[in-house]
């Protein structure tokens, strides 16, 4: 059964200079097969120059239920944004 093969999450770098981005998942018996399967499943049309595969169970994710409290600390800190500061329009390069 393929379900006895572990699940891997697949990340692809579209081209040099870009981050790896999550594109999906697949089952494979080991990391090497996961890479080869990922190439065949997710990059049949030159979509990538580099692939990461990560065992799905190795990922720790924040909980959607706690989304509001978890991200609250950044919610009220408007002074972190450049638009918070009033600068006269005639000041150049700022």
């Amino acid at each position: 059964m393929s379900s006895s093969w572990p699940l891997w999450e697949v990340f692809v770098r579209g081209k040099r200079g870009l981050n790896h981005v999550h594109v999906g998942s697949l089952h494979a018996p080991d990391a090497e097969m996961a890479l080869r399967n990922a190439r065949d499943v997710y990059t049949r049309r030159n979509e990538g120059v580099s692939i990461w595969v990560v065992p799905a169970e190795a990922i720790t994710a924040s909980s959607p239920d706690e989304k509001d409290p978890f991200f609250a600390p950044s919610g009220d800190k408007v002074y972190r944004h450049p638009t918070f500061y009033a600068i006269p329009e005639d000041v150049p390069h700022l």
């Binding site: 059964m1 393929s2 699940l7 999906g24 049949r44």
Partner: protein, 311 residues
């Protein structure tokens, strides 16, 4: 906070629902059923065309057909991966397919009797699939929508290679033109059936539209497909086998006849020309592949042990 209200707000605001969000059980079940059926369709859909790979008339056509059938496998895998984000078990879904518990698109239960069918499937069947699938790129469940975006990009190649194949045959001999027409005659009505039963008889449409899983009704999409296809048929020089097919200037759409819905329900119920053959073939492929899956798992386990004892 009321989870259901939050869910409704997310969906109504055209935001995407993501895997670990709270969602109603019915939403989850509907999605698993729909995405699994869709995945099964891609996987079973490899068979009618795969039938012609070894007999494609040139190396060029063989390479194209191989790439297309490989794409169908890829589409199935994107979609199975989407079902797993909802907690579905991949092995169980395969089991549901090969035991006949879950369905796939009725179109794949029609046989491919001539090589022209490869072109007709690309043009009409993949054309209908694109009509169905483009709106699903905006479906409310994030992983499904993202899978559909990838699939739609690739389907465009499928449809164009089919149309080009038919154009090539239409510029050939009388016998080749007759093959194309005969193929179109067989696939036209089953293609219209791909959009599902008329809206009045579609059990799942209303709730699915409310949840924004489905974005258009079956009849809307069927109309769109007919309107798109008629000028393509004219350009190709084939006749669509519907005496009622006619432009209606008042509606700004084509009028057309209804497919034989009794036949549709027969095929859905398992009594189509190739249902038994398709499922038996998939079952055999799965069972024949068991030793490969077992060997790969054993190899991986052995390498892990070797690494651990070396450490």
């Amino acid at each position: 906070m009321d989870l259901e209200a939050e869910f409704e707000r997310t969906v109504a605001a055209e935001h995407r629902v993501e895997p670990r969000d709270w969602m109603p059980d019915g939403y989850r079940k509907t999605l698993v059923r729909q995405i699994a059926q869709h995945a099964h369709s891609e996987i079973i859909g490899m068979q009618p065309e795969g039938n012609w790979i070894s007999r494609a008339p040139s190396l060029r056509r063989k390479a194209i057909l191989l790439a297309k059938v490989q794409d169908e496998a890829g589409h199935g895998l994107y979609l199975y991966a989407a079902t797993e984000t909802l907690g579905a078990d991949r092995g169980l879904l395969t089991e549901n397919l090969i035991s006949g518990r879950q369905k796939y698109s009725s179109i794949f239960n029609y046989p491919t009797l001539s090589y022209a069918d490869v072109g007709t499937i690309g043009w009409l069947v993949d054309g209908a699939a694109i009509c169905n699938q483009v709106p699903l790129c905006r479906t409310s469940y994030g992983p499904y929508a993202r899978a559909m975006i990838r699939i739609c990009k690739e389907e465009s190649f499928h449809q164009r290679q089919g149309y080009e194949l038919l154009m090539t045959m239409m510029s050939g001999t009388d016998a080749q033109r007759a093959m194309v027409q005969e193929s179109v005659d067989r696939f036209w009505w089953p293609s219209l059936m791909m959009f599902g039963p008329p809206d009045a008889e579609s059990a799942n449409t209303e709730q699915s539209m409310k949840w924004r899983i489905k974005r258009n009704t079956n009849d809307e999409l069927r109309q769109k497909f007919v309107d798109m296809t008629v000028p393509q048929a004219e350009k190709l020089g084939v006749t669509l086998p519907d005496p009622l097919l006619k432009w209606n200037p008042e509606r700004g759409h084509h009028d057309f006849g209804q497919p034989d819905w009794d036949e549709f329900w027969q095929v859905v119920g398992g009594n189509g020309p190739a249902n038994a053959q398709r499922v038996a073939h998939r079952r055999k492929a799965h069972e024949d592949g068991e030793w490969v899956r077992a060997a790969a798992a054993a190899h991986a386990a052995k390498r892990t042990r070797t690494k651990e004892s070396a450490a």
